[in-house]
């Protein structure tokens, strides 16, 4: 069986860019959470979590994001999400007013600019 989701992580200086393609649910959220944790070091300035290729997310994924946001706030690191506005994931996050806690950008370029990534 292929994996439900694929996570890829790149660093651009002190900015970590994580992309999740596929579905996030209770079966893989713990593993993804750990790998995201590993991706962000003390020297990271920000994590941009790109969900444009995420086809499914529910309350377990939402909790992952809120937990990550809290962790990063404590360490004074930024977290931004990239989500297409009229997508399923966009609707799910809007249902829990995610944008009030974590900034959401419609495209990757805007998120990177917002965290001050070099062009």
């Amino acid at each position: 069986m292929p994996d439900l989701a694929r996570l890829s992580v790149e660093s651009d200086g002190d900015i970590e860019l994580a992309r999740v393609a596929g579905e996030i649910d209770a079966s893989n959220v713990a593993d993804l959470s750990q790998r995201l944790l590993d991706a962000v070091s003390n020297r990271s300035r920000a994590l941009v979590l790109d969900l444009t290729e995420t086809s499914y997310i529910d309350s377990s994924g939402i909790s992952l994001i809120f937990d990550a946001a809290a962790r990063m706030r404590n360490r004074r690191q930024q977290l931004r999400l990239v989500v297409q506005p009229r997508s399923f994931v966009g609707e799910v996050l809007a249902a829990v007013s995610m944008q009030d806690s974590v900034p959401i950008d419609p495209v990757l370029g805007e998120a990177l600019r917002a965290v001050g990534a070099p062009d």
Partner: protein, 530 residues
């Protein structure tokens, strides 16, 4: 040879042959061997060249002391130069002194590095030359018979490893190609529920021949196909790709399955393709008329609503690729709501020591006992018929089920997180089959997953808890019920608190009834509207 010389030689031999067994990665193996060979033979350079796919050129693959040979992509036609001569004559060749040799040495690197003496041996596998192994020295050297024998021994081991590695790579390519040719997902259309499952042969090298496909022909018609190409490996996968492409090209123009197979028979003949068996069927999703033609392939199985099974054996014809252009007839049936058409490959029914009829009976038993839902049916059938057996062939199954508009679904799944994706699959299919839009499918997928989350999180152990899923459509409103055997607990941690708002966001109505014997969540939403 003196006794201790012989012992040293034996140890040397073991050093090179043991290395060959320990390494799996070909390039690492070659590097290690060349290192050992230069040590043992007190040589300064060593190299391995392999014969290219064209069979006429040698290309440098690994080198020691002559690394540039590989970096520069050195090539040599067989027959020319030193290595070319070794390959052409299939014999060891010695050049005692390059400065004084009648043998043309083409490689400029030899002169650059001032190599003086060379000894080369062929790499031979099953009578075929696959490469050359040579060593060189920077001072003139008189290679002895013992040196030649040792090098030839190393060469034999290298040749075997190369062949093994080549087959493994080819096998991987074949698998990748074949997987890429199987549909990533089947179309989801109202009124029909489809699923397919493919199980590769137990032995990796046997993979390659089976495929299935579903094409939307427009006007609520589908083309279904399943096939089995003779042989294994890369050649079979390529062959399968050709048939698939041809079929897709013809499908939009050819109405009749019999005509489709006749065209593919002509195509196979023109392209000189090997044998393949195949079923091609067209399905009208409104009338449920199915026309089916068969080229030497196992009979499609019709599973009726009453649980009986009938093989479609009326129409048939020879396999494709017989060397003649064949003609076919076709058979027509009509599917009633709830009936399933099952296409499969012979890996499912052929068993050593049993007859084909016994295999077919086993299939009918497995198919009629399996759940109705096509996804679960395919998995159940394959599991039941391949359990505990290392099936020597690929197995592919394609199930197409006519769904009545007011059909209920009732399935049980274990309350495990890994099952959630399957549950979403089932729910999306059901909603789609009953006229739901993509948004409706997505809405139910998330709401049902949230409703299952409680059971999944609090199940006391694997196999202990079960989720019962029901779905009913009435007057355009779908009601999906999720039942588990645990009480709906108060929100613990963040998750629980969020599940309910999410369900309410996507459903018109959410009702949670927590009882002593279990919790029932009822989700309602109008589906199919604009």
């Amino acid at each position: 040879m003196a006794a201790d010389e012989a012992t040293t030689r034996l140890e040397d031999v073991q050093r090179v042959t043991e290395a060959a067994l320990a390494y799996l990665d070909l390039d690492d193996l070659l590097d290690a061997l060349l290192q050992r060979v230069t040590d043992i033979l007190h040589a300064d350079t060593a190299a391995v060249l392999l014969v290219e796919d064209d069979g006429r050129t040698l290309a440098a693959r690994a080198a020691k002391g002559l690394e540039e040979e590989v970096e520069r992509g050195f090539h040599l036609p067989i027959g020319r130069g030193f290595a070319g001569r070794v390959a052409a004559t299939r014999q060891p060749v010695v050049i005692p002194d390059l400065d004084d040799s009648s043998i043309e040495v083409v490689n400029p690197l030899m002169r650059e590095k001032r190599v003086r003496s060379l000894l080369g041996v062929p790499l031979i596998v099953e009578g075929k030359v696959v490469g050359v192994l040579h060593v060189g020295t920077l001072t003139p050297r008189d290679f002895q018979e013992g040196d030649v024998q040792l090098l030839q021994l190393v060469a034999d081991r290298v040749a075997l490893s190369i062949e093994r590695s080549r087959l493994a790579v080819q096998g991987q390519i074949a698998q990748t190609l074949q997987r890429s040719l199987l549909p990533r997902r089947l179309p989801q259309l109202p009124g029909v529920s489809m699923a397919a499952w493919y199980e590769p042969a137990a032995e990796e090298t046997a993979v390659g021949g089976d495929w299935y496909d579903v094409i939307e022909l427009g006007h609520r018609r589908l083309g279904l196909t399943i096939g089995d190409v003779a042989g294994h490996g890369l050649a079979a996968a390529i062959h399968m790709g050709q048939l698939r492409s041809a079929m897709r090209a013809y499908a939009l123009e050819v109405e009749s399955p019999a005509e489709m197979l006749a065209k593919l028979s002509r195509f196979s003949d023109q392209q000189q393709l090997r044998m393949a068996t195949m079923v091609y069927a067209t399905v009208n999703l409104d009338t449920w008329v199915v026309d089916c033609a068969r080229a030497g392939h196992p009979y499609p199985l019709l599973i009726r609503a009453d649980g009986s099974g009938t093989f479609l054996s009326d129409a048939g014809g020879p396999p494709l690729g017989t060397g003649a252009v064949e003609t076919y007839d076709e058979q027509r049936i009509t599917l009633a709501p709830g009936e399933t058409l099952l296409l499969y490959t012979d890996g499912l029914i052929e068993r050593r020591g049993s007859t084909l009829t016994e295999g077919e009976s086993a299939l009918v038993e497995a198919a009629t006992a399996a759940p109705d839902e096509p996804e679960l049916k395919c998995r159940s059938i394959i599991e039941r018929l391949t359990e505990g057996i290392a099936v020597p062939d690929d197995v592919a199954v394609l199930a197409v089920r006519a769904v009545g508009l007011y059909e209920e679904m009732e399935v049980h799944v274990p309350a495990e997180a890994e099952q959630l994706a399957i549950v979403r699959h089932l729910i999306r299919r059901w909603v789609s089959a009953h006229g739901g839009t993509d948004d409706d499918c997505a809405a139910f997928a998330i709401a049902v997953t949230e409703a299952c989350a409680n059971a999944v999180e609090h199940a006391y152990g694997p196999g202990d808890a079960e989720i019962r899923l029901g779905a009913v459509l009435e007057d355009g409103e779908a009601t999906v019920t999720v039942r588990d055997s645990g009480g709906w607990r108060e929100p613990r941690g963040h998750n629980r608190g969020r599940g309910i708002p999410v369900m309410k966001e996507f459903m018109d109505d959410v009702a949670i009834d927590a009882g002593d014997d279990g919790t029932t969540v009822e989700l309602r939403r109008r589906i199919g509207g604009e």
